[in-house]
């Protein structure tokens, strides 16, 4: 009976302040929803990747070799613990698409067994069938490339092999566990189906085209259950060493697998960080609200204790408020998170196509979200509940304890404040009157600003890095890449074309830099000193010209190899033709937001790689001076004068004296398509990357990601609105008698409202002063987490973002004052001036 009446009081108290309790329920719900949705997405993606790797039997490790006889595979099978070994031939080619303007793209051919399907790195056939086992010219095409160009089984595709065009029929469209994230290799952060596609052919057909019969250049190994992979990798490396083997690459370091893993780690971080902000503010709010309630109900508590309610009953009664808020917020957030989780997972899976989805309701995540919210809220509510239980009846039953006034320190040390009227100084006194509430208001502003700056900071940093790359660093409109080195005369011919403003020669070759016991594979760009279509800056932003002597090393490489300007580094030819780092520990990260948005690779420079492949057959090893350290947001490339590069590589690679393998071209806008078309008509041109198309693609994909950032903006506003609404209303309700007295003495409603608003503005100012640097710092930390060998994003927050955060929170706070101002208007002076509690 006693309990039922207390429950009745509980319900009526809740109904008395529905908006304030409702606001906290909303905060809790958003926190739980964000956690459930984001963590479910993380788990669903993780599980989908794992399922795909498992069902398609992703190899446990792979070794790339120059060329090894197929017989060596039998030796590899003898390694203890090895289950399956398959040899493949992988070749880089050029593809032509007659119907399209950019009709040449780079392709990678991977061989399939002549009979049946591979046992390792199996393919999921989405449509069509496997190529026939005879010598039919058929292939399987990777689905994202096929999707981008609209290829279907039965369509044709031209492959350029040794200057001959060979027409192939697309037998089927497939997905591969090696190319869920379709990148060329570990040196490439961004997929680009527009310029790169993967296809599979029968081994016999590959051998017929490339003369590779009886040999392989890629070995895939699957371990038997319980096998020691590390030992197997060591032994495999030893066995394959005579055939020009590179370091074995474990499955988790495979390019696609690693990028997806890093992407997942980013999802996980966001899934935890943002809910923490909401839970923190929710806990502060419930602590304040219940604290106020206990304070205002002191006499009721005293009465209840006097008539026989136990401490426990009182404590539990006030704790029930937190429990109700936690349960309501948790359940609403859990249900919303469940549905939003499904939605964002679907959105995510349209951007990264996974062979096998494993999207299930994550009941565990929902339970953890609800329980976490409940725990945080109940613990926060326990303090006021405990103070209610501890009230001494005789003291509690009396009138409220007087509020102790004191002159704030700030007034003592800022004597000029005396010049202001007391009415204008009153907000300062009140601001420091209830530290708990003030801290809560400031924390609300800090959290809202931080949330905006971190989420928008990531977007700004992405935009700034890409913009720097495409606007400052690159000044050409088209980069034409040749399949084989050409004489510079080829560039001079292009320069004379109508519409071409300027053409500059480029010689791009892969290198391995070695210093301090560390090494990194990298591309070396040979440019003419004084040329203007590719500009470089140092990490501090100073412009730097191509030096006639020495090598200009990117900042991240300099860090990794402990290099500095003026130092020396060894430059050698890498074993691999495709520049993949042999350092298994090296990170290769990519902003998950960027990829969640489906942003595909903007690096036109990467297309050149295919052309260098055939060249690397001899050795080169020489020390060179580091002439400068450069900043590059995208990609990781070293620069030197083209004469130097010709000097270094000329003899080992037997290059022509004035060798180039790419041309950077500046074109009059109206001639862009004409020049592009003419380039594709030239023999030996492998690709022509048009910067404008890349920019358009990036813009399109960035706009897709606006859903995420707008959602974060909305959540920030909710956060600021709820905390300010609650704080202001609590402030006004607590001081009803004081405000009524002021009004009775002749202070207008407007002045009284301004007093209250001024207090919120003070919290806002302090919150902005703390929140802007904190949010900027945290945004920098978040951006820094995505630094990798090929993505050196600098933390940038645009002035517009600061203004959005500063003005957005201010507008929210001003709107949140309205209920408090309405309350001031409605105060019954006759009643409020006599009210003592």
């Amino acid at each position: 009976m006693v309990t039922s009446k207390l429950n009745l009081k509980l319900i009526r108290d809740l109904r008395f302040s529905p908006l304030m309790f409702g606001g906290i329920v909303l905060l809790v719900a958003v926190g739980v929803m964000l956690f459930v949705a984001a963590y479910s997405l993380y788990l669903n993606l993780q599980s989908s990747y794992a399922t795909s790797y498992s069902r398609l039997n992703l190899a446990d490790f792979s070794v790339q070799v120059q060329s090894a006889p197929q017989e060596v595979l039998s030796t590899l099978r003898q390694i203890p613990g090895v289950g399956e070994v398959e040899g493949r031939t992988i070749e880089e080619v050029e593809m032509e698409q007659p119907e399209m303007i950019s009709r040449k793209v780079e392709g990678r051919i991977i061989s399939l067994p002549d009979i049946g399907e591979p046992k390792l790195n199996q393919l999921k056939l989405l449509s069509g069938a496997y190529p026939r086992q005879d010598s039919a010219r058929e292939l399987l095409l990777e689905s994202s490339f096929a999707g981008y160009y609209g290829y279907r089984p039965g369509d044709s595709l031209n492959i350029v092999i040794l200057d001959d065009k060979v027409k192939f029929r697309i037998a089927g469209i497939v997905q591969s566990p090696e190319y869920i994230y379709v990148v060329r290799g570990r040196g490439y952060p961004l997929p680009n189906p527009r310029t790169f596609g993967v296809m599979w052919m029968r081994k016999g057909m590959v051998d017929e085209m490339f003369g590779t019969s009886g040999s392989v250049n890629d070995v895939e190994v699957g371990m038997a259950p319980g096998g020691n992979r590390r030992t197997a990798m060591r032994l495999a490396s030893k066995i394959l060493s005579p055939y020009g083997a590179d370091e074995p690459v474990a499955s988790e370091n495979q390019a696609s697998v690693e990028l997806l893993r890093l992407d997942l780690a980013g999802h996980r971080r966001l899934a935890i960080f943002f809910p923490i902000l909401f839970f923190t503010i929710s806990s502060l709010s419930i602590y304040n609200l219940l604290g106020r309630m206990v304070y205002s109900q002191r006499s009721q508590i005293g009465f209840m204790r006097a008539v026989g309610f136990s401490r426990l009953a009182i404590g539990v009664h006030y704790l029930e408020f937190s429990i109700l808020v936690g349960v309501a917020g948790g359940v609403i957030g859990g249900v919303a998170g469940y549905y939003i989780g499904i939605w964002v997972t679907k959105l995510g899976t349209t951007l990264v196509q996974i062979p096998y989805y494993n999207i299930t309701p994550r009941w565990g995540v929902i339970a953890v979200g609800i329980i976490s919210a409940l725990l945080v809220i109940v613990v926060s509510g326990a303090f006021p509940a405990l103070s209610a239980a501890r009230l001494v009846p005789a003291q509690a039953i009396r009138a409220e304890a007087p509020i102790v006034g004191r002159v704030p320190i700030i007034e003592r040390y800022l004597p000029f404040l005396d010049k202001f009227t007391l009415l204008s100084r009153l907000p300062l006194r009140n601001f420091l009157r209830n530290i708990r509430r003030t801290v809560s208001m400031i924390a609300g502003v800090v959290s809202a600003v931080t949330l905006m700056l971190v989420s928008y900071g990531l977007l700004d940093s992405m935009k700034a890095s890409i913009d720097f790359y495409l606007t400052y660093s690159i000044h050409y409109d088209i980069l034409a890449a040749y399949l084989h080195p050409q004489d510079q005369v080829a560039m001079e011919r292009i320069e004379r074309w109508k519409g071409v403003i300027r053409a500059e020669p480029v010689l791009v070759l892969p290198a391995k830099l070695v210093h301090a016991g560390r090494s990194q594979n990298i591309l070396v760009y040979g440019l003419r000193p004084g040329d203007r279509l590719m500009l470089l800056v140092e990490p501090d932003g100073r412009k730097v010209d191509i030096a006639k002597v020495g090598l200009m090393v990117p900042e991240l490489t300099a860090k990794k190899l402990k290099l500095r300007s003026g130092g020396r580094v060894r430059i050698t030819l890498p074993k691999q033709t495709i520049p993949e780092t042999p350092d298994a520990g090296a990170t290769q990260t990519l902003n998950p937001l960027l990829r969640a948005a489906g942003i595909h690779g903007p690096s036109p420079r990467q297309s050149i790689l295919g052309s260098s492949r055939a060249l690397l057959e001899t050795k080169m090893d020489r020390p060179v001076q580091v002439s400068a350290v450069t900043y590059q947001p995208v990609g990781s490339t070293a620069y030197a004068s083209i004469e130097q590069v010709r000097l270094w590589y000329g003899r080992p690679l037997d290059l022509p004296p004035k060798a180039i393998n790419a041309v950077a071209i500046k074109v009059e806008p109206k001639y862009l398509q004409t020049v592009e078309r003419k380039l594709y008509g030239l023999d030996g041109v492998a690709s022509a990357e048009v910067v404008r198309y890349i920019r358009e693609e990036i813009q399109r994909l960035l706009s897709q990601s606006s859903v995420f950032f707008n959602a974060m903006l909305a959540f920030s506003i909710v956060l600021a609105a709820v905390i300010m609404f609650n704080s202001t209303l609590m402030n006004v309700i607590e001081r009803t008698r004081e405000i009524a007295t002021l009004r009775t003495m002749g202070v207008s409603v407007r002045s009284a409202s301004l007093l209250i608003t001024a207090e919120s503005i003070m919290a806002y100012v302090v919150g902005i002063m703390a929140g802007v640097p904190f949010g900027s710092w945290l945004a920098g930390r978040f951006v820094g987490l995505y630094e990798s060998e090929s993505f050196n994003m600098q933390a940038v927050i645009f002035p517009g973002t600061y203004w959005i955060a500063i003005l957005g929170v201010l507008a929210t706070i001003l709107i949140a004052q309205l209920p408090g101002i309405l309350y001031i208007r409605k105060i019954e002076l006759t009643k409020a001036t006599k009210d003592i509690g």
Partner: protein, 240 residues
């Protein structure tokens, strides 16, 4: 502030009434009432709880509006004033003294008085006012550091500092001990007698009425008697 000649009518009630509607029931808090408050008047309103005396005070003070009749302050009808005009009226013409003092807890005694002084163009000196109520040595004390009597004296100083023409005191001694209560009464009495300020004091403490020039008895929301006190006592002579 406009000067009021001696014994001129300051406030005039003409059938002023106040009733509250609670659902379908209309509860009369103050039945139609007619009387006047003169300049320099010390008027004490007596009556039991619920007799309508505080309602009467609130209506005259402009913090409540009559549902019927008129209340004229210097011939201006309060019933016709909007919220802003009523605020001006309270700011320039009326000083309130509450039973529970209602001081701003974050301001010192002096600052509480100054706060109100800032509202008007020609206030008295706040420190002098506190000196006059015997608190010259406690100017910088916060309300929590003052006794109830001291707080009430600060409240009176606060009411007086803006040179009001009318002081409305609602149970000003209700929360004070005898000696402190007498001291407060003396201050209010002196304002009426020496400064010519009209003082309307509501109390249920009958002996206090002996200091008044006129005494109103109320019961059940109406005035049952309004009589002059031919021999008002000095506050120090009052006993209860």
């Amino acid at each position: 502030m406009e000067h009021t000649p001696p014994n001129e009518t300051l406030v005039r009630l003409e059938g002023a009434a106040k009733s509250y509607t609670m659902g379908k029931i209309v509860v009369p808090a103050l039945k139609p009432t007619t009387f006047s408050v003169l300049q320099g008047d010390l008027l004490v309103v007596l009556g039991p709880s619920g007799s309508g005396k505080t309602t009467l005070l609130n209506l005259i003070g402009g913090i409540d509006t009559p549902t019927d009749g008129h209340i004229f302050f210097k011939e201006k009808d309060l019933a016709c004033m909007n919220d802003a005009e009523l605020t001006q009226y309270r700011r320039y013409s009326v000083g309130f003294v509450f039973q529970f003092f209602n001081l701003v807890p974050t301001l010192t005694a002096l600052e509480n008085v100054q706060l109100v002084a800032e509202l008007v163009p020609n206030p008295l000196n706040a420190q002098d006012m506190l000196d006059s109520v015997g608190l010259g040595d406690k100017l910088n004390r916060f309300p929590s550091e003052l006794s109830g009597g001291e707080q009430q004296r600060v409240a009176i100083a606060r009411a007086l500092v803006k040179r009001p023409e009318l002081i409305l005191a609602d149970e000003p001694t209700g929360n004070l001990d005898f000696e402190t209560g007498i001291r407060v009464l003396k201050i209010l009495h002196d304002q009426a007698v020496t400064s010519g300020i009209a003082v309307l004091m509501v109390t249920h403490n009958t002996p206090i009425a002996s200091i008044a020039h006129r005494i109103i008895h109320m019961r059940s929301g109406e005035i049952v008697s309004l009589a002059a006190n031919p021999n008002p006592l000095d506050p120090e002579e009052v006993q209860w």
